[in-house]
């Protein structure tokens, strides 16, 4: 029976000192996709770039990147390959697939709609 654990439940919050700026799960996916539209990158690089691009406003708990990467790869939105870095280390590089590029656009659009809706709601009250 595969419905034993239909979906892994949310981890209890606040154990490792996450702040309220910890992004939602879907947001991580969007951030990763967006980051990878620039160039293929390894996990650490992605986390660095997210921090740079958001000026640290969204403090991604770096480790939570990896379940997200696995999830996206399973959806065939990204692909991975092991390469040797400039510093001579082995690292797993991720790049967007064609489906991933399309998804990045759609996710961004839906995020914008979402933000606008929340914004409109906040403006009302």
């Amino acid at each position: 029976m595969l419905f034993c654990r239909l979906r892994q439940k949310r981890q209890p919050e606040g154990l490792m000192g996450e702040s309220s700026t910890e992004p939602l799960r879907g947001t991580i996916d969007l951030l990763v996709l967006k980051t990878l539209t620039l160039a293929p990158m390894h996990g650490w690089g992605i986390s660095q770039r997210i921090q740079q691009l958001t000026s640290g406003a969204l403090e991604v708990n770096q480790g939570s990147l990896y379940p997200a990467l696995q999830r996206l790869e399973r959806k065939d939105w990204i692909d991975s390959e092991w390469h040797v870095t400039d510093s001579g280390r082995r690292a797993k590089y991720y790049r967007l697939t064609a489906a991933g590029k399309r998804a990045a656009g759609q996710e961004a659009a839906s995020w914008r709609r979402h933000v606008l809706a929340v914004e409109a709601l906040l403006a009302q009250t």
Partner: protein, 890 residues
């Protein structure tokens, strides 16, 4: 593309789980190393840099867990874990496990076996293309004047040919012939059919060709089609059989084709098919069944209306049938699905009833297991509370409950399917006489699907029921003093349902037992013990004249009568209780004046030698028996039966009355026969059917009646003092002595003929009895279990009451009353339901009312008895209860 990726990753995770984990580790190590390096570059000490990197990462272990949890393989691991846990649990309580699995196996097995039969016999279409368009064309009459299958073979051929409702129509007739040739002579079933039969059925020979229209003309050269089985057995499957000549009853026929294997029309035993060669200029005969293929979209009712409008044309073709006669006799066409004839309505009813019965047994079984699970859930309260307190999620506990009950149901289903297979093997071996199309009963996809659905439904319900019980116990905590009322109500409802279902089962079974009893008490009209019967058929080649036939039978009987131990011996054209028994024909007597527009009542026409009635033990009521000198020269003497006297003589003296058979008799074209004696009636075709009445003609030479065609194939009856079958070798030797080319067939005791006739009822009764016994057993176990448990639940309450001064006797009464109340309510509901079902049950009964008070009272008594015992044991336990221990107990 996406699916491939998903599958590829999942497959890799399953197969190379360790490598995947190692990769993830390496990836995270790389991340930490880079972060540490960056921190060092920012000026931190090596140690601090590493610590900060770890902090920013947020726990390597935690993220690795998260990754693993998102892998589908991981969910499978949970499932395996749950299954293992369930198996461990079941092993730990073997009593519970065995009880539950056996109960489920009985319920599921019974359902699977009976559904296989329903599926094979009722639901599978007949093995012809578009079989739903095949209809039987028969005729019915008002009253019992004429046998019901009355299509006038040749007249129907002509009269109905313009009918537009049919794509094709055919007539057929069953008979037996003796095949002689290279091997031993063999008696085989044959069908004579019009050439259109094969286009009606939509089947053609797999070798050779079907009949041509020319071959179906009177006087055409004789051709024959043979069955695949006969071709392989007798002709070694040699293709050169086509065009060869075979001898049937001594006359040559050319084999033109071999029918495909499995083709069995109109019955399983038919091996040969010949053209009927109807002479449309000589219209007569009243015994030929017809089969038609409806055009698409035409209903049998519409076809019947069209034939009804065509029927009056017959009066212009057949001079002796006037419009008034048709109307007076109420003759009208009857068109109904052919499938109804293959599987008679009685068998359909039996099978549906049986299925309903085993469904009830399954329900009882499910209720039983549900109550067992509920009881166990109570016992596991502590465990559940503990696990819940330790943070187990309810969702996971539900998943586990469902897994547990699934494992239980799967074990039960596996065992049940094994049971069903055994039952089906037995049914195929012993059930051929009892059930039509029994060869098509097997466990196929549909059967497994139904079994699977039933099992899945049961598992889900059990899982949820157990979980709800678990959930309640979570809320109640570990020290619930009394049970909550919801659980109590549910258990009470289960007890009532169980008793009600058992009551319904027992009523049906009881009525079937009464039916079987009545059938064994039916006066069959003869004494079946110590009688040997067999059949000898004489072909026209070798026995061309009536005198030859008579000479052979007389010689046989003469020898048999001289065997030691033989009391009496005789022969007849048709034994009683044989489905192929002679059909009747109208009988005119001089005791009543028949109106011009009415057909007189019908009576069977039988040939009998002297000694036959004595050998069978058929009583002679009045007058004398037939003698040897009645045959040669013909004296015109006949014996009639009670029913003939009752139906045709209007209370006048039968001895000396004159009778004439058939339409020829009605039209005064046949000399009268003189009634010299009156014999008792016998059941002609089945136990249930009232005797039609018969006229016994002396073999061969009755004046004006050509008995030769009947006397050519005679069944012998030999009454002996000892074991009947012991005589057979001597009798076989006699037949060989007289004619080595003659087969002796259908050798068996008269008792086995009677047993075969009661086969269908016995099958239904046996199956229902087994189902009812299983239902009663499961029901009583369940009842006892529930009452015992309910009493155990009241232990504290009873303890308190005893401590406060209640007398033990009062406690016993209280528990007993509770049990009997539940039992009584269930019983009343069950009996009311059985009353409501009477319409469905009635057609299966014989001489017993569907509301038979005796049965209902007996069922009530049995169930109340079982209920009393089931309640008495826990009641006595309650009375013996030690209050101190009771209060301490959980």
């Amino acid at each position: 593309m996406r699916l491939y990726k998903w599958l590829g990753m999942t497959l890799r995770e399953v197969v190379h789980g360790r490598a995947v984990a190692a990769e993830a580790d390496e990836e995270m190590r790389f991340h930490l190393a880079m972060e540490t390096e960056q921190n060092v570059r920012a000026g931190l000490s090596a140690q601090t840099a590493h610590r900060d990197a770890l902090l920013a990462f947020g726990g390597v272990l935690r993220h690795r867990e998260a990754m693993r949890d998102e892998q589908p393989a991981r969910r499978f691991e949970h499932f395996v874990h749950d299954v293992r846990f369930a198996l461990r649990l079941l092993r730990r309580t073997p009593g519970f496990t065995i009880a539950a699995v056996l109960t489920l196996a009985v319920g599921i097995g019974g359902n699977t076996a009976v559904f296989s039969a329903v599926n094979g016999v009722l639901l599978h279409p007949l093995p012809y293309p578009n079989a739903d368009r095949l209809v039987t064309i028969a005729h019915t009459t008002k009253g019992d004047g004429i046998p019901t299958n009355l299509p006038n073979s040749s007249a129907m051929h002509v009269v109905y040919s313009p009918a537009k409702s049919f794509a094709a129509m055919a007539l057929y007739e069953s008979d037996k012939v003796t095949l002689t040739g290279r091997d031993l002579p063999e008696r085989l079933a044959i069908a004579h059919a019009t050439q259109s039969l094969f286009s009606v059925l939509g089947v053609s020979p797999h070798l050779g060709r079907a009949f041509t229209a020319d071959e179906d003309q009177p006087g055409a050269a004789s051709v024959v089609l043979i069955s695949d089985a006969l071709w392989r057995r007798r002709f070694n499957g040699d293709r050169a059989i086509l065009g060869q000549t075979v001898l049937l009853d001594g006359s040559p026929s050319t084999v033109v084709g071999v029918m495909p294997s499995g083709f069995a029309f109109p019955s399983e035993d038919v091996q040969l098919w010949m053209p009927m060669r109807i002479d449309v200029h000589k219209l007569e005969g009243f015994h030929t069944p017809g089969i038609g293929r409806l055009r698409p979209g035409v209903t049998p009712e519409a076809a019947e209306r069209e034939l009804t409008s065509l029927l009056p044309r017959v009066t212009t073709l057949v001079d002796f049938l006037s419009a008034e006669t048709l109307k007076g006799a109420g003759i009208r066409p009857d068109v109904h699905p052919y499938a109804d004839d293959v599987v008679p309505i009685s068998v359909r009813r039996t099978l549906w009833t049986l299925w309903a019965t085993v469904a009830l047994v399954l329900l009882i079984a499910c209720v039983n297991v549900a109550s067992l699970l509920a009881v166990r859930a109570e016992a596991r309260r502590r465990e559940m509370s503990l696990r819940s307190a330790l943070g187990a999620e309810r969702r996971h506990l539900l998943a586990q409950s469902i897994t547990e009950s699934t494992v239980l149901v799967l074990l039960g289903a596996a065992l049940g399917i094994a049971f069903a297979n055994i039952a089906l093997i037995m049914l195929r071996r012993f059930g051929a006489d009892m059930l039509p199309r029994v060869g098509e009963v097997r466990m196929d996809g549909a059967v497994y699907i139904v079994t699977g659905l039933v099992s899945a439904g049961a598992a889900l319900i059990f899982g949820i029921a157990t979980h709800r019980a678990d959930g309640r116990s979570l809320e109640l905590g570990s020290r619930g003093g009394t049970t909550d009322s919801r659980g109590l109500r549910m258990r009470h409802a289960l007890v009532i349902a169980q008793v009600a279902m058992a009551a319904m089962l027992l009523v049906v079974c009881g009525l079937m037992v009464r039916t079987a009893q009545n059938l064994t008490r039916v006066d069959i009209g003869f004494r079946p013990d110590n009688v040997l019967t067999f059949r000898v058929a004489l072909p026209e080649v070798g026995y061309p004249a009536a005198a030859d036939v008579m000479h052979f039978h007389n010689a046989m009987l003469e020898r048999i009568r001289h065997l030691p131990g033989v009391v009496a011996a005789g022969a007849t054209s048709d034994l009683p209780l044989s489905p192929m028994g002679s059909s009747g024909d109208v009988l005119r007597t001089d005791r009543v004046a028949g109106g011009p527009n009415t057909l007189p009542p019908a009576a069977e026409m039988r040939a009998a030698t002297p000694g036959y009635l004595e050998a069978m033990g058929i009583p002679l009521r009045r007058g004398r028996l037939l003698r040897d000198d009645d045959s040669d020269p013909p004296s015109g003497a006949v014996i009639v039966t009670d029913a003939v006297v009752r139906k045709t003589m209007a209370g006048r003296e039968p001895i000396g009355a004159r009778v004439a058979h058939g339409l020829a008799g009605v039209r005064d074209e046949r000399p009268w026969s003189d009634v010299v004696g009156v014999a008792g009636d016998v059941r002609g075709t089945s136990l249930e059917e009232e005797p039609m009445g018969a006229v016994y003609y002396p073999m061969v030479n009755a004046p004006g009646v050509n008995m030769e065609w009947l006397a050519r194939s005679m069944s012998y009856a030999v009454r002996v003092r000892t074991e009947p079958m012991a005589l057979l070798p001597s009798i076989r030797a006699f037949v060989r002595e007289l004619d080595p080319a003659l087969p002796l067939t259908e050798a068996r005791t008269l008792r086995s003929v009677v047993d075969a006739a009661s086969g269908k009822t016995r099958f239904a009764m046996m199956a229902l009895a087994v189902a009812a016994a299983a239902g009663l057993l499961l029901g009583s176990i369940g009842l006892y279990g529930m009452l015992a448990f309910a009493t155990a639940q009241r232990t504290r309450e009873i303890g308190v009451r005893i401590a406060l001064g209640a007398r033990p006797g009062a406690m016993r009464v209280s528990v007993l009353r509770q049990g009997l109340e539940l039992c009584g309510v269930g019983l009343v509901l069950g009996l009311v339901a059985a009353l409501a079902l009477r319409v469905a049950i009635r057609p299966m009964l014989y001489q017993v009312s569907a509301t038979d008070p005796l049965t209902f009272i007996a069922v009530a008594a049995v169930l109340m008895f079982v209920g009393t015992i089931a309640a008495w044991i826990p009641a006595s336990r309650a009375a013996r209860l030690d209050p101190v221990r009771a209060l301490r107990s959980e």
